[in-house]
């Protein structure tokens, strides 16, 4: 037996029961063990009703046993860390667990000195302080941010992983309530001139991260945001100001934003030409592939969990699309032979993650479980074969194909896409 994650049973309790009661042949399953352990009366030293509790504090902290952590790629200036999807519930990502993708490290910015310059094809070029921006009418919106390179680890036919967590595979995805001002409100202030069609957004980091964005998006649902989940944006997410482009690839949503230039053409920056473009099999490369298409991922059961026994389990996961709302998530528990509709947890918000659930009575046999999402345009999350056929195998971004988890007869869960291709 290789103990891995065993929900509902602490390691100490498990060892106690295996060495003691189970050895005596009285218990057949872990569920029985849980019931028996629960009947043991706690000693008074461990009984929280017998000792005064901790007093109030200025700043809360997680329970000591709860230690969710981002997974870091490396310590380079251009690097990333990933959200622990398999450890989280609901849809909102705690701000300190929001994924990171920096191209020149996290800059140290003093908010009271930070300014946003808007110029170019405008009637009134203006510089805004953070106080100016916070004085504009405020808007909040819950939406996801996803790196367009998310999930690339499951695209290579020869290197399909098995022992990989949802975090390691798809953790460049986080969801927050973002607060700020609509970009359209601020652009109205500078007076965009006729003939303008693009924006150049630049960050105040050591890479001066730069992306060209169609003006239409800027006038639609783009925001200048300064808060995340009710507090100031974390430095890793762009403190004190970032561009938010709901549903679009993360790197376009420039962090530490200091400049917007209104133009009539894209600037063709490094990160929209030599990076974040998608080579296709016909010898061309797709450019300005902004929208994140519909995707879903099962976060439980997933590696490294083990299902300790057959019976009722709830398959849980996240689905999202940059094209509006998710309308349907289907789950298969028989390697894709048949599909059932999963329940979607309300509210289903546009360009946000939605939590899906499917109650499953596992018979204890080896199988592969999958999920697939459908969005309001009628787009269905493709298989990896469909993506290979449409794009070839050279792309390194926008790999939103169906994910699979293999459940072995002993309950061990591994990434299972390789078993299907």
């Amino acid at each position: 037996m290789t103990p891995k994650h065993r929900p509902g049973l602490s390691r100490r309790a498990w060892l106690t029961t295996t060495s003691g009661v189970i050895a005596a042949g009285l218990l057949k399953t872990q569920a029985d063990a849980v019931k028996l352990v629960a009947q043991e009366a706690p000693s008074s030293a461990d009984d929280p009703t017998r000792v005064p509790g901790r007093l109030v504090s200025e700043l809360g902290s997680r329970a000591p046993a709860e230690r969710p952590r981002r997974l870091m790629r490396n310590q380079a200036l251009s690097s990333s860390s990933r959200t622990p999807l398999q450890d989280l519930h609901g849809t909102i990502t705690p701000a300190d667990l929001h994924f990171e993708r920096h191209h020149g490290g996290v800059p140290n910015i003093v908010a009271e000195n930070h300014e946003l310059l808007i110029h170019g094809m405008v009637d009134r070029p203006l510089v805004f302080s953070m106080a100016d921006l916070k004085r504009f009418p405020q808007t909040s919106r819950i939406c996801f941010v996803e790196c367009s390179g998310n999930g690339g680890g499951a695209y290579n036919r020869e290197r399909m992983p098995t022992e990989i967590t949802p975090q390691a595979l798809d953790g460049l995805l986080s969801t927050s309530e973002w607060t700020g001002v609509m970009l359209s409100t601020v652009l109205r202030e500078v007076g965009v001139q006729g003939g303008a069609s693009w924006l150049l957004a630049e960050g105040s980091d050591s890479a001066v991260m730069s992306r060209s964005v169609p003006l239409e998006k800027g006038m639609d649902d783009a925001m200048l945001v300064y808060a995340q989940n009710g507090e100031a944006i974390r430095p890793e997410q762009g403190y004190p100001l970032r561009l938010l482009l709901p549903g679009w690839e993360g790197n376009t949503q420039v962090k530490w934003l200091r400049r917007l230039e209104v133009t009539d053409r894209p600037t063709m920056t490094r990160d929209e030409t030599s990076r974040y473009t998608d080579p296709l099999q016909d010898g061309t490369a797709r450019q300005f592939s902004f929208v994140m298409d519909a995707k879903s991922v099962i976060t439980f059961p997933s590696f490294p969990y083990t299902l300790p026994e057959a019976g009722w389990w709830e398959i849980k996961g996240l689905a999202w699309t940059g094209r509006g709302r998710i309308t349907r998530v289907e789950v298969s528990t028989d390697s894709g032979d048949s599909w059932q509709d999963a329940e979607l947890q309300e509210p289903v918000l546009s360009k946000s993650t939605v939590r899906f659930r499917h109650l499953w009575d596992w018979d204890g046999d080896k199988t592969v479980i999958l999920s697939r999402a459908t969005d309001e345009t009628g787009y269905v999350q493709p298989t990896v074969q469909q993506l290979w056929e449409a794009r070839g195998e050279r792309t390194t971004y926008h790999q939103n194909h169906q994910r699979a988890w293999k459940i072995d007869a002993d309950g061990a869960v591994t990434f299972g896409l390789g078993d299907l291709v």
């Binding site: 200036l77 020149g104 310059l117 009134r124 070029p125 203006l126 510089v127 805004f128 100016d132 921006l133 004085r135 504009f136 919106r141 359209s184 409100t185 109205r188 202030e189 069609s197 693009w198 150049l200 050591s206 001066v208 730069s210 169609p214 003006l215 239409e216 998006k217 639609d220 649902d221 709901p246 549903g247 200091r258 400049r259 009539d264 053409r265 600037t267 063709m268 920056t269 490094r270 030599s274 473009t277 080579p279 296709l280 010898g283 061309t284 490369a285 797709r286 450019q287 300005f288 592939s289 902004f290 929208v291 094209r323 509006g324 360009k351 345009t377 009628g378 469909q386 993506l387 390194t396």
Partner: protein, 202 residues
Amino acid sequence: MRRATTWAAVAVLLAACSPADGPPQATNGVDSEAGDFSAELAANAPASFGFGAYATNARIAMWDIDVKPDGEGLPVGSGSVSEGKRVYEMYCIACHGPTGTEGPNDRLAATDEWEQWPVARGVGNYWPYATTLYDYVRKAMPQNAPGSLSDDQNYAVIAYVLNLNGLLAGDGVLDASSLPAIRMPARDRFVADDRVGGPEIR
């Protein structure tokens, strides 16, 4: 000018909304209906709030450091391949290797055919615009002291990188007029995103 027109058309295409009839079509992520989310200003909002300070030309010039594909934004100055080799060996070689191929960071020199991709994705076979080199090097390089090279040093080191890719002769010199004139091999490889939602997988 032809190129500018093309990309303006792309912006319009990206913004295309639902047709007159039928179910909502892909809008490339642009939310055509307010639905759960309203961006409308309050009815009593003024035509202008008057927030922010006027940005003078001098203020704009401090941060307006980008370079456009037609060369707009390139500074006065010049640099040669031979000067660039010295700059490269001083500031770049540790991360990009003696010939721009060895790493440990991004590969700069690559002339492989695309059919061999992803064997290499460098300046010579994947960067569509030479001006992007200036925009990027001026902003982000060298990584441990970004923005620290002079305008002439930037021209020179870009000249050397282009030389490593076989795109500039050993006696070549770059300035604001010659850099945008360099025709990059990958120039016509890039196409607009044709994913539009709906049932077709692209």
